[in-house]
């Protein structure tokens, strides 16, 4: 049970609990994408005003949470890994992906794309490098990502977060239904 897929009604509330937990511990609004800004400020601030601040004192807590995510995911992968090689994804999704020519089903992501050899192909470059770039640019422009807007922001009933989340879905639906058939 614990090694299989955790259902949404277990996982969703557990993720949601982190919002009040971070407020109650440190009076802070939980968000992940600020770490991208902190990492830039720590490595190549290049005199840009957006990166001129004390990233250690302002971002230390978020960078530690990100490190925690790496560790937690590694632990779950080592000790709670599912015995099934293929995730219980909807059969309709598998069919749709097969029609795009994507055959590999094993693991968390299609390894023909999300691997070093996949990165060297045009689809791999677009999904990983262009996709990653847009994630970072868009999250910082919108001042938040899935955590800061979709979860923390909507929990706080913020209209700006609702606008951002509508944008998230407009972008994601465009890629899935219009662009992926051209890319893959």
């Amino acid at each position: 049970m614990i090694q299989g897929t955790w259902p949404w009604w277990v996982g969703g509330p557990l993720i949601g609990l982190v919002v009040p937990a971070v407020y109650l511990y440190g009076a802070k609004k939980w968000g992940v994408s600020s770490t991208l800004r902190h990492l830039c400020a720590a490595t190549i601030p290049a005199g840009i005003e957006y990166f001129r601040y004390d990233w250690r004192s302002r971002g230390g807590w978020q960078l530690l949470m990100a490190l925690g995510m790496v560790i937690g995911a590694a632990l779950a992968n080592a000790f709670l890994a599912s015995p099934d090689a293929v995730l219980p994804i909807s059969e309709r999704t598998w069919t749709a992906l097969a029609e795009l020519g994507l055959q590999d089903r094993e693991g968390m992501l299609p390894s023909s794309i999300f691997s070093w050899s996949g990165l060297a192909t045009l689809p791999g470059f677009i999904l990983i490098v262009v996709g990653g770039f847009l994630v970072g640019f868009g999250a910082r422009y919108a001042n938040g990502c899935t955590s800061g807007h979709a979860i923390s922001g909507l929990s706080n009933l913020q209209l700006s977060s609702l606008a951002a989340v509508i944008g998230f879905f407009m972008g994601g639906l465009t890629v899935t239904h219009l662009l992926l058939p051209l890319i893959l």
């Binding site: 949404w8 996982g11 949601g16 919002v19 009040p20 407020y23 109650l24 511990y25 440190g26 994408s33 991208l36 800004r37 830039c40 840009i48 230390g60 807590w61 949470m65 990100a66 925690g68 995510m69 937690g72 995911a73 779950a76 709670l80 994804i89 999704t93 749709a96 992501l109 999300f114 070093w116 996709g131 990653g132 770039f133 994630v135 970072g136 640019f137 868009g138 999250a139 910082r140 422009y141 919108a142 990502c145 899935t146 807007h149 979709a150 979860i151 909507l154 706080n156 009933l157 913020q158 700006s160 606008a163 944008g167 998230f168 407009m170 972008g171 994601g172 890629v175 899935t176 992926l180």
Partner: protein, 150 residues
């Protein structure tokens, strides 16, 4: 976001590592780090991702409601301040930035939290995804004065 008043006094940071590790486990076991799950979501083939986001928001909102009602202080001693309504007005940055983020989310199949979690599960090529996301954040910082904000 970060308010000025809680930036000055140091606080023990260990609990944040634990919160993050807890999230890392949940991200893996609910499979929200899976590119396949994100595809399933954007194709409306399953309730799974919607249930996770919806239930997370419900629990988060209930928690915030109770904190506001109790007028609670944080364990570190600070009053808990929530973003003011005038900070919540949607501007072009939310619509445009949100849509750009969505395009990236659809391609990469991972938002920032899952990028870190995927690295934890040994998908090393996600380091490139992280570097690309950092580059995106950097270019945003560079162009920020010239982009529309509300």
């Amino acid at each position: 976001m970060m308010t000025e008043q809680n930036l000055n006094r140091p606080e023990p940071l260990g609990p944040y590592l634990l919160f993050g590790a807890f999230l890392g486990v949940v991200f893996v076991k609910t499979e929200v780090i899976s590119w396949f799950r994100i595809q399933e979501m954007f194709r409306f083939h399953s309730f799974h991702m919607y249930g996770i986001i919806g239930a997370a928001v419900a629990v988060g909102a209930l928690g915030i409601f109770l904190i506001k009602r109790a007028d609670a202080r944080s364990l570190t001693g600070w009053p808990i301040v929530f973003p003011a309504p005038e900070d919540s007005r949607p501007g072009p940055q939310h619509w445009i930035g949100g849509t750009i983020f969505g395009l990236g989310w659809g391609l990469l199949g991972a938002c920032p939290g899952p990028i870190y979690a995927l690295i934890g599960t040994g998908v090393w090529v996600m380091f490139v995804g992280l570097l690309a996301a950092m580059s995106g954040a950097w270019v945003y910082g560079l162009l920020r004065p010239r982009l529309p904000h509300g």
